[in-house]
């Protein structure tokens, strides 16, 4: 590969790693700060991606896909097209809202119960979402998938340079999500979440409505995942239920958080880049080491090893020292 090739590869890499970093930030709100065990990230990933895609993609050729009637019809409503890609933002907002609502329902049912019920429920919702998009062909063309998801401001930049634009979009989104997450967890709100993670009963005895805060945290994490899904959809531009295999849509994100350091937003972002680097980098290794299934295996080993050997990940949680307003 020449220099430009390597550079372009690097841009593609950062776009994907950045999108994954958004997911890792969402998961960090769930697990790292609140101790909520979500193993159905793929469900929120898919919901976010499909919601955004369906709102922005042109309707299909009815002659080609008889079953496919729904998708994209809304983006034809002309008067909302202000010459600017408003639909892109509407899609992202809708993705966030849909994920938030689903999280509200799941959380409302399970967050009063034992911790691990949430895990089972998220697993179930991920599978249900997958089955829905697989079977309801009228919604999103089933297993044949959604094509031609538009690029944001695709008409502005030439196709060969488009990735640079989208890199900026993803980095901006990552920055916004990071700041929002950082502010949330560093505020008293985040302090309550960490209190709940440390000892639910003690948090309740400190006057906090544990259920309400858990529900808020679960919804916020899911909303962030929905935004990640929407960005992913516009990057890949083709979605099918197979895209959201638990390996790349759930497991890898867990590995990212565990490796980077749960309870630390910088760690979550770092973990996303490190693990995605390992994931994509190993394909250049010779022979056996390039086997994608070896990477699959290693993701599992990485998670177990992180729990056993370094529960805090690379960065770990930082101790919040008092700001020292009135001291010394």
């Amino acid at each position: 590969m020449d220099v430009i090739g390597i550079f372009n590869y690097g841009v593609g890499f950062v776009i994907m790693a950045g999108i994954y970093a958004i997911f890792a930030l969402g998961l960090n709100i769930h697990w790292g700060f609140t101790g909520l065990f979500n193993i159905g990230i793929a469900g929120f990933f898919a919901l976010g991606a499909y919601t955004a895609a369906l709102l922005t993609t042109q309707p299909p050729d009815p002659a080609q896909f008889e079953d496919f009637r729904f998708g994209g019809n809304w983006s034809e409503i002309g008067y909302l097209d202000l010459g600017f890609d408003l639909w892109f933002f509407l899609g992202i907002a809708a993705a966030a809202v849909v994920c938030g609502v689903i999280a509200l329902v799941i959380g409302y049912v399970t967050l009063r119960l034992r911790d691990d019920y949430l895990a089972i429920a998220t697993l179930g919702i991920a599978e249900t979402v997958r089955l829905f998009f697989l079977n309801e062909k009228w919604v999103a063309n089933g297993s044949k998938g959604l094509y031609r998801i538009p690029e944001f401001l695709g008409h502005v930049v030439s196709p060969e340079n488009y990735d640079y634009l989208y890199l900026a979009v993803v980095l901006a989104a990552l920055g916004v999500v990071f700041l929002a997450a950082q502010r949330a967890v560093q505020s008293p709100w985040g302090r309550v979440l960490r209190g709940i993670r440390e000892d639910e009963t003690a948090a309740a005895a400190s006057g906090k409505d544990v259920f309400r805060f858990k529900l808020q945290a679960f919804i916020l994490g899911a909303v962030i995942m929905g935004i990640g899904g929407a960005l992913f959809a516009h990057h890949i531009r083709f979605l099918s239920p197979l895209t959201f295999d638990p390996l790349l849509a759930t497991f890898v994100i867990w590995a990212m958080l565990m490796v980077g350091g749960s309870g630390n937003n910088r760690g979550a972002v770092l973990g996303a880049f490190v693990v995605w680097g390992i994931w994509t980098g190993t394909q250049f290794l010779p022979g056996f080491f390039a086997d994608p299934n070896l990477r699959f295996f290693m993701i599992g080993v990485l998670i177990v090893a992180a729990i056993l050997l370094r529960p805090g990940g690379i960065l770990g949680e930082t101790r919040r020292i008092a700001r020292g307003a009135d001291r010394e």
């Binding site: 911790d115 019920y117 009963t201 299934n293 699959f296 295996f297 599992g300 080993v301 056993l308």
Partner: protein
């Protein structure tokens, strides 16, 4: 509020396996059975029978999962992948190992598979039992000694699940396999009920194994010690019960049941895929929660309930929604009665 959270001294480990059967249970059972019978005329018998076969496989997995849940006190997310591993280990024996020894067969009597599968089955099961105990020693025991909570153990089992599936894909790839088989005639019964001979084999294996679990839990020293440990781990310790061996036996039984369920699933759907076990987790956990966590008999009943309901649901909705039906049943149960049908589980 979790009541045990108020007893930090006892940690969160005091759990019971509810084996009691009270008049309330009888009433519920009668109502459910009456409702089912009333519903029967509208239902295709063939689907009910299919549901029973599916329920048998769910039952094998769920009984093992609920034992692990009850005694070791965490949700073993890798249970489905123990099923996958069991199916593939048996595939290795029946497809690669035995043929080298000149043992190859398919189509034993009315069954699609041959006697070589019957030889391979116990070998595959034994391999998974060894694997489960090795993982206990390498991973779970260390974490338990560190005093981590149940969710971290479940996390670790997620890692194990991923690694196991990765291993299966490294060795066999993502392709779909089959055990050596021959097509066989399906038994035609009245009311449009069709019974494949393999399904009868599945039922027999399930009945034998579940009866075996019952006997082990109620007649053997180790089985009673398992119930005792689930009931009151501290007292088990001072009674001189070797809790480490109890844990090993729990893994052994859970893994053996899971591996068998995996093999039977591979026979039933006539194919093996690396993801088969992970996809099966939802009906398994649904059965465990419906039956009350830690209650093997509850899991058994719930497994058949889920099997039949999700199969019968295909009369009206797309068959591929079967796992979603199981999931919906679980959510419904959590809303109404979080401790399960029999109330024996814990919230």
């Amino acid at each position: 509020m979790n009541q045990s959270a108020l007893n930090p001294g006892l940690r969160d480990i005091v759990r019971r396996i509810a084996l009691g059967w009270t008049p309330a249970h009888t009433t519920i059972a009668i109502v459910v059975i009456a409702a089912a019978i009333g519903f029967l005329p509208f239902v295709k018998m063939g689907l009910v029978v299919n549901g029973v076969f599916l329920g048998a496989i769910i039952a094998l997995g769920a009984v093992g999962l609920t034992l692990i849940y009850g005694i070791l006190n965490f949700a073993n997310v890798a249970h489905g992948d123990y099923m996958t591993m069991g199916a593939y280990a048996t595939l290795f024996v029946v497809g690669s190992l035995l043929p080298r020894l000149g043992i190859e067969s398919s189509g034993l009597g009315p069954f699609s598979f041959g006697y070589s599968l019957l030889i391979a089955l116990p070998i595959g099961v034994a391999a998974i039992v060894i694997l489960a105990i090795a993982l206990e020693v390498a991973v779970y025991r260390r974490l338990r000694n560190r005093g981590v909570n149940a969710v971290v153990l479940a996390m670790a089992s997620l890692g194990v699940a991923i690694a196991l599936r990765g291993l299966v894909q490294m060795i066999w790839g993502g392709a779909t396999y089959q055990y050596p088989r021959e097509s066989r005639q399906v038994f035609q019964l009245p009311m449009d009920v069709r019974v494949p001979p393999d399904a009868i084999f599945i039922m027999v294996v399930t009945v034998v194994l579940v009866a075996g679990v019952y006997l082990v839990l109620n007649r053997t020293r180790m089985g009673k010690a398992m119930r005792a440990t689930a009931d009151n781990p501290d007292l088990a310790l001072v009674s001189g019960i070797d809790t480490r061996r109890v844990v090993w036996w729990t893994w052994a039984m859970g893994a053996a049941l899971a591996a068998t369920a995996g093999i039977l699933l591979a026979v039933f759907q006539a194919q093996l895929q690396p993801i088969m076990g992970w996809r099966f987790l939802i009906p398994l956990f649904a059965a465990v929660i419906l039956g009350g966590i830690g209650n093997p008999y509850g899991a058994l009943v719930a497994a058949f309930l889920i099997g039949v309901t999700s199969e019968v649901s295909t009369q009206w909705i797309n068959p591929s929604y079967k796992p979603a039906v199981a999931f919906a049943m679980m959510i419904g149960m959590l809303l109404v009665r979080p401790r399960g049908i029999f109330g024996g589980g814990r919230n």
